[in-house]
């Protein structure tokens, strides 16, 4: 039995990471995929937990060897999702979730057509700006860049299977959980999970 591969994307400031973390807490059947990156670790980063930190030589060799489901370079740093971080879990029947951008999502969709993709929108432009500013950690040029990027990201929302608006956090989390619950009820998943029941119901007297 194969698990379900989820892709979650959003513009920066939509609240994607908080929602994904809350979802994973409540749905232990879903594993978060750990990406590879060439960006230097920050003080709180733990290798193999937040990212697999590798140097550019290793990363480029992995790309050349076709080991990535998706990869991209963002502001001089490379990021990628290895097949090894995803495929063994799916084969064991675990669901896997990827937090990636629209370009990564496009690559994964091409490689794994059965994936389920979700795009998270902030409730308004004004609220997106407010959330980006309230982080306090980013300077004005970074915020301006993030806002410009957010438009490009949102322009691809229509490529995703589902769109969730993160206005009230609890409602958006319930929406994500409904999407997950629903995938588990699809005939392909149920034909496997309920095989014994269906055989019981079909057997002749």
């Amino acid at each position: 039995m194969s698990g379900c591969l989820y892709i979650v994307a959003a513009p920066s400031g939509a609240g994607k990471s908080s929602l994904v973390n809350a979802l994973l807490e409540r749905e232990p059947g879903i594993a978060l995929s750990i990406s590879h990156t060439t960006r230097p670790p920050r003080p709180n980063d733990r290798d193999g937990e937040h990212y697999h930190f590798v140097n550019r030589g290793v990363f480029e060799k992995m790309v050349a060897d076709g080991l990535f489901l998706e990869h991209a370079e963002v502001f001089g740093n490379c990021y990628g999702t290895s097949r090894a971080a995803v495929e063994p879990l799916l084969a064991q029947g675990r669901d896997v979730l990827l937090e990636i951008d629209w370009q990564g999502a496009r690559q994964v969709r091409a490689a794994m057509p059965g994936c389920v993709s979700v795009f998270i929108l902030p409730p308004s432009r004004a609220e997106l700006e407010r959330r980006l500013r309230s982080r306090g950690s980013d300077d004005a040029p970074t915020i301006a860049r993030r806002l410009a990027e957010s438009r490009e990201e949102v322009a691809h929302a229509g490529d995703f299977d589902y769109i969730v608006v993160n206005d009230q956090f609890g409602d958006a989390l319930a929406d994500l959980r409904a999407i997950v619950a629903c995938q588990r009820l699809r005939r392909e998943a149920q034909a496997v999970r309920q095989a014994a029941l269906i055989a019981d119901l079909l057997k002749a007297d």
Copy 2:
């Protein structure tokens, strides 16, 4: 904006009607389609509420005029879902639910490819038999006939988009509600509902 057309089917005794009634109570956005039938009204049947009761001449004229989305004859009585019972509601953006069998579902899928179909299974053969017997209203030959029919119905469960097992009523109801919630998050529905938000997020500075 167009509503979503739901089809719900199940073998007799799976608890379909109770589940559908509970779903409709909690989801006032979904209207139950009212079928036409040639069977005689029973004491508690109200014309236009449970069914539209018509004679065979009227029914056959409606078939000839192509007014039905689906229709079938079951034990000498005709049943059908008219296009007029469904299409105006969908056009107004309301969701519509049909309680029909696998043969009706097949006709509706062909006519309305965007419909969402759900099959409800009982938790076991023994429980299905127990539920059919505990009704008290059916004699032994009727129960035997229903059990034989249930096998034919279950044999087509794999034609449906989603499969829900009605073991604990509350869980099965939550499953149905997750399916409904999920459809409302699909990009096609959200592109319409969130059109103003998406335009706001995309507009240039």
